[in-house]
Amino acid sequence: MASLAATFGRGAMTNGWTDVANADVILVMGGNPAENHPVGFRFTMEAKRNRRARIVTVDPRFNRTAAVSDQYVPIRAGSDIAFLGGLLNHALANDLYHREYVASHTNATFIVGEGYGFENGLFSGWDGESETYDTSGWGYELDGDGYARVDETMEHPRSVFQLMREHYSRYTPQMVSDICGCTAEEFTRAAEVICSTGAAGRAGTILYALGWTQHSHSVQLIHTAAMLQLILGNIGMPGGGINAQRGHSNIQGATDLGAWNALPGYLKIPRAHQASLQDYIDENSPRPLRPNSMNYWSNTNRFMVSLLKAWYGDNAAAANGFGYDNLPKPDADDDYSWATIFERAYTGDLEGLVSFGMNPVAGGPNTPKMLEGLANLRWLIVAECFETETAAFWKAADAAGEYYPGARAAADIDTEVFLLPAACFAEKDGTMVNSSRWLQWKHAALDPPGDAWKDQDIIAALFLRLQELYREEGGAGADSLLNMTWDWRNPRSPDLAEVSREINGRGPDGRQISSFAELADDGSTVCGNWLYAGSFTEDGNMAARRGQEDPTGLGLYAGWAWNWPLNRRILYNRASADAEGNPWDPERAPIRWDGSTWVGDVPDYGATAAPDAFGAFIMVPEGVARLYTVDSFAEGPLPEHYEPVESPVDNLLHPEVGSNPAARTMMSAIDSLGSPEDYPYIGTTYRLTEHYHYWTKNVDGPSELQPHFFVEVPEELAAEKAIANGDTVRVWSARGEVRGQAMVTRRMRGLQVDGRTIYQVGLPIHWGFLGRVTGPLVNNLSPSVFDPNSGTPEYKGFLVNIEKIA
């Protein structure tokens, strides 16, 4: 999501599930939607049945999606940027890109300053000491008014277009083949299909998921894909876009409402040096880089003040910066992401942990480190509908000591563990926000059983008790809690519709607002998340709507649930038309300019703004999408292929810079990396359609459909190791080992990489030491290596060894 926000302005699937049915070409890469998103995949099948869409699947395994695709290309885990760079090169070198789109709607025309450079795998400004870039040399050339200089012809040698063309000219079909392991012919055949969507009348989409996010260079990887879709003119188009398929039913909602590095609505976390609200607003209200940039984040003040009013109510006033002082403010380089939390737990620098709807012992990398980290806590609170491996971490030595030889016995663990039985999804109402950004209201199907409580009741009980303790005893940060409003009709069990109404926001007259345009910065408006303004208006709960009308015939279904922002179904839809507002494809125009207003989908643009009034990408200061990004990532402005941190091969483009120089690799005593001599094979983890994460192994039905952990082994490797189908094998890495039965398959083949054969081993994730069915936790194998921007661990592509044991 970090990547899409930096490229286009918002971190979400650009189009939506139903829209995939409009595609002519569907590239599935870094995801396996037939396996993991089977319900959403129906729209891929509709595209195939009704539009004769071509489906190309690129994956280490010939998977369920590949089985119904028109073309399958094998690829080495972690080499995706090389493949996508090859596609960029194919489109640019063969003139298959959408030239007019690129010139109108991207920063290809922008001229970059002379400080930018790239050599031997590193961009200019690299500081090997701090392992960071000084980005000051990469900015655009500015004119006297502070706007970026552009060259509409894109011929200027320092135009983004020319820099991009030169950068990716190295990614020839042969180079792609040498790095990725597919043949040059396989690559070129796929490239021809994918790049055919550069024509104005054709639309292609990309479906991806965790196969792209779980790398040490994942944000760069996704940016490469976004660049490809931009040069092919596929962003903003029905049937186009870059469609991030979220890994859980409500993870989009979770990120929309804030994670550690964002407040609700992707407002940035205040940092220690931003002492006042004004400092915060000044730093987070970007300056437009072109005269016609709408630059919507210049409204940060309205969003932030309205949020503070929602949180602190009458305690938020202009005189006290609307309660800005109540917010915690980490230092500029502080990091409270996943990687850091468990690093701190491991080093004893964390007192306690509240784990809601998460199972970090199962889901986190390097299981022994997770177990030891939790054993160092004073207390651990887990709210769950099952006893999870996290709640029962202290049983690991007893239950599965063969996998966790270093795990402490229960008697040696002092952590006080509270397992709070919580309602499951069907036992509470509220919205879930799917990958399409649809807020869909659901009703509770039944009451929570036994002592289980709804999540909001658990949180309310914690909040009220903590408030009481602070009131009685005081303590550091007491004001943050004491100043907070908690005026729900039932404070012990807030009604989620009431919460949704606050998230939507209300105006000075106390009425529900219908757009964030109504928000003010004077404290007269209240809004829990500006992006959700319009979801619960005076007309009622928009998320509960179930209208099935589709007047455009494009599958927009404007009356079904509610789509952030402003019920807009296709993001960046202004880019579906040229500078004059004429649609690139009249058959598939999500919006049309009728001379005075835009009709169709909710325009991602001023509703009555003339086609030439603004750039098409209203959320970024450039006003156009960014092929080249300056201050967004820990890496350079153009994505480059880097190997996984544990890789069996050198980086063929620049052997001296192998993996992402900016990647975060934890190197505590329990973290270690393996060498290709000891661990010659690539391990990659994935999910199966039969199970949901580490959850359904507790349930009869899914357990019956797939009771067993197994290891997928390529036929040739199995022959070398004398492994027969069904034999028990041991797979081990520098962190730990797993055992399971081998599934010997032709669906994974040995790949020719840099002149030698590389094998990959497939490891489905769903088992653990508790449940209806049990098995090893595969993250016993994965390393504590993370993308520097998103903090996502590198689960796709690490080194293992394998042997037959029975």
């Binding site: 089977p38 369920r64 009771p707 069904g726």
Partner: protein, 288 residues
């Protein structure tokens, strides 16, 4: 049974399949859009309230090695190679509801297997004697014996749901709409059109699986490689076993002839020789 019956096992009346045609219902499985997600398996298990069976690992993605008396709907995962490229052919396997059902033909228990007027072939456990002849009679190896109840079970095409206007559970659950349910003649037309599209898209051998050897089936398949149904785990040319056809065909008439001949002979014997004289009853009494 609220529905009209077309044929009933071991009972005189309409021959199986003789009137099952345009009015019959069918299920279409478009394997080219089946993703092997097993939603149909889960729905079948749930609707029929089957017990959970954790099968041993058999080295495939398949839930069970084969259908069983409590697992009536199985996706087969056929890993193969076609024209040098890997292929993973997923095909839903269940009762084919044959127009001319070998199971019904071979069943000796009156009323244990019925064919409804809508074409559904259903087993009636109350009448089943557990002889297993239906298992021999089925060319698709579908009916399975339950050693506990000593009866044989298989997919009912959700006749309980269908009889109240609902689609079968598997159809309801399918996320990609690779499964459809409706009038058989219409589905055959849809299937042929889909196969034509696939042929145009480069799958030259695409076609519809509706084998003639059993009079056609009410479970129809669209196959990308219709010239190789075995690759999907489907028999190339299923036929009712000759033992069944012989037994219920010529042999049955021969049997009837022998039976009728016997009765006739007895009658003629009676006419010719009169009633048999009672043997001396004293002998019998002696033996007591």
């Amino acid at each position: 049974m609220s529905q009209d019956l077309q044929a009933v096992s071991a009972t005189p009346g309409g021959a199986a399949g003789s009137d099952v045609d345009t009015t019959s219902l069918a299920k279409l499985i478009d394997t080219s859009t089946c993703i092997g997600c097993k939603a149909c398996e889960a729905a079948c298990q749930e609707w029929n309230d089957h017990p959970v069976t954790l099968a041993p690992f058999d080295g495939t993605y398949q839930s069970q090695p084969d259908l069983s008396h409590s697992f009536w709907n199985l996706i087969k995962f056929n890993e193969t190679e076609i024209d040098g490229a890997p292929a993973w052919l997923m095909s839903k396997y269940q009762c084919m509801h044959c127009i001319d059902p070998g199971c019904l033909r071979s069943c000796p228990a009156p009323g244990a297997i019925v064919q409804h007027a809508n074409g559904i072939v259903d087993f009636v456990p109350e009448q089943c004697i557990g002889c297993g002849y239906c298992m021999t009679g089925c060319p698709f190896d579908v009916p399975k014996f339950d050693p506990y109840t000593k009866k044989v079970y298989k997919c009912t095409l959700c006749t309980d749901r269908v009889s109240v206007g609902l689609e079968p559970a598997c159809i309801k659950a399918c996320p990609t709409s690779c499964l459809t349910f409706g009038a058989r003649d219409e589905l055959i037309q849809i299937a042929e059109e889909r196969a034509e599209t696939l042929r145009e898209d480069g799958f030259q051998a695409a076609g519809v699986y509706n084998p003639a050897g059993v009079g056609g089936t009410q479970v129809l398949y669209v196959l990308r490689h219709a010239d190789q149904p075995e690759a999907y785990g489907l028999p190339a040319d299923p036929q009712i076993p000759w033992t069944v056809t012989l037994w219920k065909g010529p042999l049955k008439w021969l049997g009837n002839l022998v039976f009728v001949g016997g009765v006739l002979g007895a009658f003629l014997h009676y006419v010719r020789y009169g009633p048999q004289a009672e043997e001396a009853p004293e002998d019998a009494r002696d033996g007591e």
